[in-house]
């Protein structure tokens, strides 16, 4: 069962990240390609506190979430100044900068060696050690995240965000505070990404920069788009599907020497077909 469990746990962590990305990209219209960087900061912070045994899991997670709120506001600030593709490229820059810091700030992150031996989490003194318990923990986290997202989308704030995405000038002209709305969306997205990092670090008990690089950020975007932008169902479906896809593709029988490349190739073809024939994703609204 551990395979299924570990699949579910990782998918649930990615659902939190998917919600974060969806909130920023799908709903607030801030096209960020640096969510993996924020995710990484959350993971390293929780790892740090647990390895130093200075804090329990829940307080560590809270601190990581708060730090990532601040960080995410900072990294999305350029979006207020530059728009469209300019921000995408700036965001690429932020992501590559973060990777450089994760790889080279050896004292804090262990550098390219990573941090092995992160202790398992505890919930108010109750240690979470088996994969089964971990599934429960992550499911609860995902449920809370999903509920928050769902409630938000129904609240006036959600409608305001959507209106901003449609026509920012009109919303600003109507006297609404666009800046505050965008910053709030970025803050919430940061909290999601930071806590996802905490679950990720403690589940794997190991973190290194390769989990938080540009590829990871792009995977997140792909998850959101394939699942469906701007909907809760989309944010859940995308991670579950895209994490399963490589596993399913291993069933395709290909000569071993080129199998892995062929699977990545099929993945690319599927992405293209998806964008051509179902660009709104499985359960999303039209982008």
């Amino acid at each position: 069962m551990d395979f299924l469990y570990s699949y579910i746990i990782l998918a649930e962590v990615y659902v939190l990240l998917g919600l974060s990305t969806n909130l920023l990209v799908g709903i607030a219209g801030i096209f960020s390609v640096s969510q993996a960087a924020v995710f990484g900061v959350g993971a390293y912070l929780v790892a740090h506190f647990l390895m130093a045994e200075s804090l329990g899991f829940i307080p560590a997670l809270a601190i990581a979430a708060v730090a990532c709120i601040v960080l995410n506001i900072l990294v999305t600030l350029p979006a207020l100044r530059v728009s469209g593709d300019y921000f995408v490229v700036t965001s690429f820059g932020i992501q590559l900068l973060a990777t450089a810091v994760f790889t080279n700030w050896t004292n804090a992150t262990g550098g390219a060696n990573g941090l092995p031996g992160i202790p398992p989490p505890d919930v108010f003194g109750l240690p979470i050690e088996s994969t089964g318990q971990f599934v429960i923990l992550c499911s609860v986290a995902m449920a809370i995240g999903g509920l928050a997202f769902w409630l938000l989308m129904r609240a006036p704030f959600g409608r305001l965000l959507r209106a901003i995405r449609e026509d920012e000038l009109a919303v600003a002209a109507a006297g609404k505070n666009v800046l505050r709305a965008k910053v709030s969306a970025a803050a919430l997205a940061g909290a999601f990404a930071g806590s996802a990092g905490g679950f990720y670090a403690t589940f794997l008990s190991f973190v290194d920069p390769s989990s938080f690089d540009l590829d990871a950020s792009i995977l997140l975007l792909t998850m959101v788009v394939v699942g469906g932008a701007r909907t809760l169902a989309g944010s859940v479906l995308g991670p579950f599907l895209l994490l399963a896809l490589p596993q399913v593709l291993t069933l395709v029988d290909i000569p071993t020497s080129i199998a892995a490349a062929m699977r990545q190739l099929i993945y690319g073809v599927l992405l293209i077909l998806f964008m051509l024939f179902r660009p709104q994703g499985l359960a999303g609204e039209k982008l």
């Binding site: 990209v25 096209f31 600030l77 350029p78 100044r81 530059v82 469209g84 593709d85 300019y86 995408v88 490229v89 700036t90 690429f92 820059g93 932020i94 590559l96 900068l97 450089a100 810091v101 790889t103 080279n104 540009l214 792009i218 975007l221 792909t222 788009v225 932008a229 020497s257 080129i258 490349a261 062929m262 990545q264 190739l265 993945y267 690319g268 073809v269 599927l270 992405l271 293209i272 998806f274 964008m275 051509l276 660009p279 982008l287």
Partner: protein, 287 residues
């Protein structure tokens, strides 16, 4: 005299990077597509030339054939992928992800056919060294600078002196007017991606001639070139070229003051700061 050799090396890598930047700038300014698959075209050029040279095709002919194949591939991507997405009114995000899919396809076809090993061109002359004073350059580097500068000059001449070049700039400048003055923007898009792909094939062959071929090696040069394009001001060929050279020189010279592992991080840090204060780029024209 380390700085002099570093400076010259920076100029060499920068000129090749500059050609990548102008090819991407040409495509991006006209189609507004964030053509990530361009990195795949760049990589493919080298592998095609390598195959041809390995089969005894003369070096110059191999280069020309590689350029020709890339031209066709570029036209194919625009015509079969981007144009279809455009007709379906796909958003930027959808097009970007489809482009990532195309990149995955190209890279992994290469990996499946050629394996992931770093391949060296079987051309002994390329690593022969020429000494000028204290400077030591090999023929591959010299050829890179000469042909890159020629490519830049050729592109400038093409864009400003030929009717097709002017039409491309017209479409980039006002696609709506181009539509109603029968400039046939859709056709121009195919042409411009084809030309951009032809141009990028040049550094795609020259750089691996010196440094070897890797199937996944195209993304970093493309991202750096993109940053050069944005910092140089979208639409400015000179801006893209000069900034690319500048970035490469900066990265080389930065080693004199900081450890090398930070040079990429510092580059992107400067870029992010730059974007906050001068988001339209250095060479952007007043609008």
């Amino acid at each position: 005299m380390v700085w002099l050799q570093l400076l010259v090396n920076g100029l060499v890598t920068g000129s090749a990077l500059g050609v990548v930047a102008i090819s991407f700038a040409l495509i991006y300014a006209t189609t507004k597509i964030f053509h990530v698959a361009h990195a795949g075209v760049y990589t493919l050029a080298g592998y095609l030339a390598w195959s041809l040279v390995s089969h005894g095709v003369p070096d110059v002919l191999a280069l020309l054939l590689a350029i020709l194949c890339c031209t066709a591939l570029g036209a194919l991507i625009q015509h079969q992928l981007y144009a279809r997405l455009e007709r379906r009114r796909a958003t930027h995000l959808v097009v970007l992800i489809a482009s990532l899919g195309a990149l995955a396809v190209i890279q992994n076809v290469i990996a499946a056919v050629y394996s992931s090993n770093i391949l060296q061109f079987p051309v002994p002359w390329s690593s022969r060294v020429v000494t000028v004073g204290t400077l030591r350059l090999n023929w591959a580097q010299i050829l890179t600078v000469v042909l890159s500068v020629l490519a830049y000059a050729g592109t400038m001449w093409f864009a400003h002196r030929t009717i097709l070049g002017k039409q491309i700039r017209a479409v980039a400048s006002n696609p709506f007017l181009a539509e109603i003055t029968r400039l046939r923007p859709q056709r121009i898009y195919v042409i411009v991606v084809a030309i951009g792909s032809a141009i990028v094939a040049l550094p795609g062959v020259l750089v691996p001639l010196d440094l070897g071929l890797q199937p996944y090696g195209g993304v970093t040069p493309l991202l750096t070139a993109t940053i050069a394009m944005i910092a140089g001001g979208v639409g400015s060929i000179t801006g893209a070229f000069v900034l690319a050279v500048g970035i490469a020189v900066l990265q080389n010279l930065s080693l004199l003051v900081i450890p090398g592992e930070w040079s990429i991080g510092v580059t992107f840090f400067i870029f992010v700061i730059f974007m906050l204060f001068r988001p339209t780029g250095l060479f952007a024209k007043a609008r």
